[in-house]
């Protein structure tokens, strides 16, 4: 019992520390790394919540698959949409630099 509680509140402490870190780092100029760090820390926090609070470590494989599925599919949405957005205004066909179509950057 108390061991479980210790884990829970230990994790809580870790979460709060991570929160402080991410808030603090947001004010440190890291260029484009700011967002990367922020999302990495958010992922770490989410993992702690999922694994400990939501007891994924004690759950069956099936439940784990379901827990992962939502996020995996979200990555599909982000990834393939990003495939369009990230390459839309590049010069996709070399040699025709000045005359081929390059849609608006947005």
């Amino acid at each position: 019992m108390s061991a479980v509680l210790r884990t829970i509140w230990g994790c809580w402490a870790a979460l709060v520390v991570l929160l402080a870190t991410t808030t603090g780092l947001a004010f440190v100029p890291l260029g484009r790394w700011n967002i990367v760090v922020a999302l990495a820390i958010a992922t770490a926090k989410a993992l702690i919540v999922v694994i400990v609070f939501m007891e994924l470590r004690r759950s069956s494989g099936l439940v784990r698959v379901f827990a992962g599925a939502g996020f995996l599919w979200l990555l599909i949405l982000l990834g393939l949409t990003g495939a369009d957005y990230s390459s839309r205004h590049e010069s996709y066909i070399p040699n025709t630099l000045q005359l081929h179509e390059t849609p608006v950057k947005r």
Binding site: A26, N34, F66
Partner: protein, 210 residues
């Protein structure tokens, strides 16, 4: 439905519990994509208009946001503790933890409401009194996403609070609903927490440097 006899469509209580757990996780997967779609749209604009979004995001109240994150994280820890106590069959601490969870949830809503008030006064509400027109529409877009995302989150949280209070009352009055219910509510609560864990850096933290 009591502990001993499962609902008619189930052969045993464990089967019923597994079904409930699986159902809850499936539901949460749908929720991931529900919020995820909003985040995807937001990300597309964030990539396209980094400066405008950063400029608008600076108008959010980062201190309040951070405090609120801490509040929600703490509530989650209490929720997890409630489940742990329930496993140990200790009713009083369960009720107390649930109440703490609910109170923290309400505190979150309160702080959020206060933020909304401030934002209203500063003229940051899209379509109502938006006054940050300098960002060529993107600032307003940012605040639309802001209100959409935090608003949906708040609705989810309110539902969570209602369920937690109900659980606390029933458990305190001596007839707790059977074990899966507490766990399901717990899963839901933690999920709402996770949504916020992502919203916080996405909404409050951009544009804090420079």
């Amino acid at each position: 439905m009591s502990e001993a006899t499962p609902a008619f469509q189930f052969a045993s209580v464990p089967q019923q519990r597994e079904a409930a757990t699986l159902g809850m996780w499936t539901f949460l997967a749908t929720e991931v994509l529900f919020f995820g779609a909003l985040i995807a749209a937001y990300s597309a604009y964030r990539i396209a208009w980094p400066d405008e979004i950063a400029a608008a995001a600076r108008h959010t109240k980062v201190a309040l946001g951070a405090i609120n994150t801490a509040v929600l994280l703490t509530s989650s820890a209490f929720m997890a503790s409630a489940v742990a106590f329930d496993e140990a069959k200790r009713r009083r601490p369960v009720v107390l933890c649930l109440l703490a969870t609910a109170v923290l949830g309400l505190l979150f809503i309160g702080i959020k409401g206060y933020e909304y008030c401030l934002e209203y006064q500063e003229g940051l509400v899209p379509a109502l009194n938006f006054q940050l027109g300098r960002y060529g529409g993107i600032g307003e877009l940012f605040f639309l996403f802001y209100f959409f995302a935090t608003g949906f989150h708040a609705v989810h949280l309110t539902i969570g609070i209602a369920m937690v209070v109900m659980l606390a009352v029933r458990t305190g009055a001596g007839h707790p609903p059977h074990a899966p219910v507490l766990r399901m509510v717990g899963l839901y609560w933690h999920f709402v927490d996770i949504v916020w864990i992502f919203l916080f850096p996405l909404i409050y933290l951009p544009g804090r440097v420079g």
